[in-house]
């Protein structure tokens, strides 16, 4: 098996000797005169998650189809667990699980029968098939609906059953093609947790998504696909660092205090900008230590801070930055990680909704541009957005 060198598209892993479970090497795909994929290369080490991020029509599903042997590539090579998708499709199919954009379940069969069917097709005898089905039903909390025809399931249940079906054969590699599209926030978080537990067990996951928050939460690395080309790749933190500088947003209780704070901060050499709508002050921060000085300055001036957020640029910003400049030449900024321990929200009368479950992404996400609400438009869950720094 070939392991990519440091110049591989996944800089986070380049040069590491981890086993590469999903590998696409210069994959192109033409549909007639339409070039759906252009020389796409990816490599996903064992036990990690790669998120393919892109709009509708960017080629995400085509790549998944090629990697899962459903479509032959026009050129290039792809290997799953070392097996060539074109030459050894059967070996590949033995090792993969696929959850497509449309729940791939048989609506005429009950949830349990669906699982038994797959187990039987994978060669389990009746008894083993039933056992496997029951295990998965329990794992996915589907026992209650197991005797019902899948056609009667809600979207969330179908998706859960779908994922359970793709796990019947203990696949080493799982492909999730927009797994949370059309799911309500609770089901989405449920599914994220499932994916995380799978990865913890050593499963390798390729996830396609339009939801930036999803990629941020689940992925070890991200490849941004646009018109069939990987336009950017790296860890979520790397991509966010590429999108631009970090900012601090201070919200104050009264307009008078806001005006006073503007003066204090400007005087101290910062570049505060007033956001009248939110009664907040936004300023770029070039070094992490400066966050503490903002607090100190305001405290000395006797100004009560209602809320303070310090954030990486969100993936929304990454997305827009890359879309704006296909070469991705955003300023590279030092990516400090957490908020200094001294900085806490002061006098917070209004609690913002905190992230409902799931691990917190590295660094708080903050939306700097009002126009960057892409994730929201695309149906991201309500918890996505600005968060209070170091929420109690």
């Amino acid at each position: 098996m070939r392991v990519r060198d440091g110049k591989g598209p996944l800089t986070g892993y380049g040069g590491r000797s981890a086993e590469i479970m999903i590998e696409a090497d210069q994959i192109s795909k033409d549909f007639g005169t339409v070039r759906a994929l252009k020389s796409v290369s990816i490599a996903v080490p064992k036990g990690t998650v790669l998120a393919l991020l892109g709009h509708n029509g960017s080629g995400k599903t085509t790549l998944v189809n090629i990697l899962t042997t459903a479509l032959p590539p026009s050129s290039g090579q792809a290997r799953i667990a070392g097996f060539n998708v074109s030459k050894q499709p059967r070996e590949v199919r033995k090792r993969i699980g696929l959850t497509g954009q449309f729940a791939s379940v048989d609506g005429q069969l009950t949830g349990r029968s669906n699982l038994i069917l797959i187990a039987r097709l994978l060669g389990a005898d009746r008894r083993a098939a039933r056992d496997r089905a029951d295990t998965l039903l329990e794992l996915f909390g589907l026992q209650d609906v197991a005797p019902r025809r899948a056609a009667t399931y809600s979207g969330g249940l179908r998706r859960r059953l779908d994922l359970a079906m793709s796990l019947v054969g203990h696949p080493e590699v799982i492909f999730l093609d927009e797994p949370t599209a059309g799911l309500d926030p609770a089901s989405r978080i449920e599914l994220w947790k499932l994916v995380q537990s799978l990865v913890a067990e050593g499963t390798t996951v390729l996830l396609t998504t339009q939801i930036l928050d999803e990629a941020d939460r689940l992925a070890d690395s991200i490849a941004v696909l646009s018109a069939g080309v990987v336009v950017a790749s790296g860890t979520p933190a790397e991509l966010k660092a590429r999108a631009g500088q970090r900012t601090v947003t201070v919200t104050l209780t009264t307009i008078e205090q806001t005006s006073a704070a503007m003066v204090v901060l400007a005087h101290a050499g910062l570049e505060p900008e007033l956001d009248r709508k939110r009664n907040a002050i936004v300023m770029p921060i070039r070094a992490t230590e400066k966050v503490a000085s903002v607090v100190t300055l305001l405290d000395r001036a006797g100004i009560e801070v209602h809320e303070l957020t310090f954030g990486h640029p969100s993936l929304d910003d990454v997305y827009l930055a890359i879309a704006a400049q296909p070469t991705g030449q955003a300023a590279h900024v030092n990516g400090g990680s957490a908020v200094p321990p001294g900085v806490r929200r002061q006098g917070g009368a209004h609690e913002r909704a905190s992230q409902p479950g799931g691990p917190q992404p590295a660094g708080r996400l903050q939306r700097r541009r009002p126009g960057a609400d892409m994730a929201r438009q695309l149906g991201a869950h309500p918890g996505n957005g600005a968060h209070p720094a170091g929420g109690a």
């Binding site: 899962t68 042997t69 199919r93 696929l98 379940v105 069969l109 039987r120």
Partner: protein, 260 residues
């Protein structure tokens, strides 16, 4: 492979049985064929040159059996399109399951359905007209076998058509045309020599003519009738082989060509 076909066949049969409307229409259809067509065509009286003692009902029964098999095979084909719409197919494609297993399962399920329908028709015919087969039980069995064979072969042709076109309405229109030509430009209802010239030419090239002739000669126990069996089997097998080949090849094409 064998287990997979068995599992998928079972699924196809259960899928069919799970819809009572489908089951009922499937059972009523042969009855309609049997009584509507036979009573309609009986109106024309006995065509000239009939073997003595053979009623029109006796003459038409084998044709009705074969026609029902033809209709059933067309449904096997359109069933595949419904199947392609079912979310399960993309999943099957991502599993180590041969695409031909799914087709084989559908074709076997279709065969089973045709067998049940044929038995119902034979039983009803026996009840209403009595003393059906001059060829005895053996003759009945052989003609049933021939009916199923031609139905199964044509089933693969319709599977191929469906795997190619993948649109229910288009396939249904096309199938309807094929059904009409195959049914009426044949020896089914009128002896070939009594047909108008153009129809006679078509009927001579129509595989159904041979299947019907063979079934008929056995059921009516016409002297020298066994000679028709060989060609009928051969023609069915050739059609079946060509249909299978085309269906497997066409079904392999990516599913994207199906997507709404």
């Amino acid at each position: 492979m064998l287990t997979q076909v068995t599992v998928l066949t079972r699924r196809a049969v259960l899928d069919y049985l799970s819809d009572p409307r489908q089951v009922v229409t499937g059972l009523v259809q042969p009855v309609i064929w049997l009584f509507l067509l036979t009573s309609l065509f009986s109106k024309f009286g006995r065509p000239p040159g009939f073997p003595p003692g053979v009623s029109y009902f006796d003459y038409v029964l084998p044709a009705v059996l074969v026609n029902n098999a033809l209709q059933a095979s067309q449904q096997t084909g359109t069933g595949l399109i419904e199947e392609l719409r079912n979310g399960i197919v993309p999943r099957l494609r991502s599993l180590p399951v041969l695409p031909s297993s799914l087709l084989t399962a559908r074709s076997i399920a279709g065969l089973l359905r045709t067998a049940v329908q044929s038995l119902i028709m034979i039983a009803l015919a026996q009840l209403t007209h009595g003393n059906l087969s001059r060829g005895g039980l053996a003759g009945l069995t052989v003609s049933l076998g021939l009916t199923l064979l031609i139905g199964w072969s044509l089933g693969w042709v319709f599977l191929a058509v469906s795997a190619w076109i993948r649109r229910t309405d288009t396939v249904q229109n096309l199938s309807f045309m094929m059904l009409f030509i195959l049914t009426f430009a044949s020896s089914a209802y009128v002896p070939v020599r009594d047909l108008p010239t153009v129809l006679r030419v078509v009927a001579t090239g129509n595989p159904l003519t041979y299947a019907i002739n063979a079934t008929r000669t056995i059921l009516l126990h016409t002297p020298g009738g066994t000679g028709a069996i060989g060609p009928a089997i051969l023609i069915s097998l050739v059609i079946g082989a060509a249909g299978t080949f085309a269906a497997v090849l066409l079904f392999r094409r990516p599913l994207e060509m199906t997507r709404r």
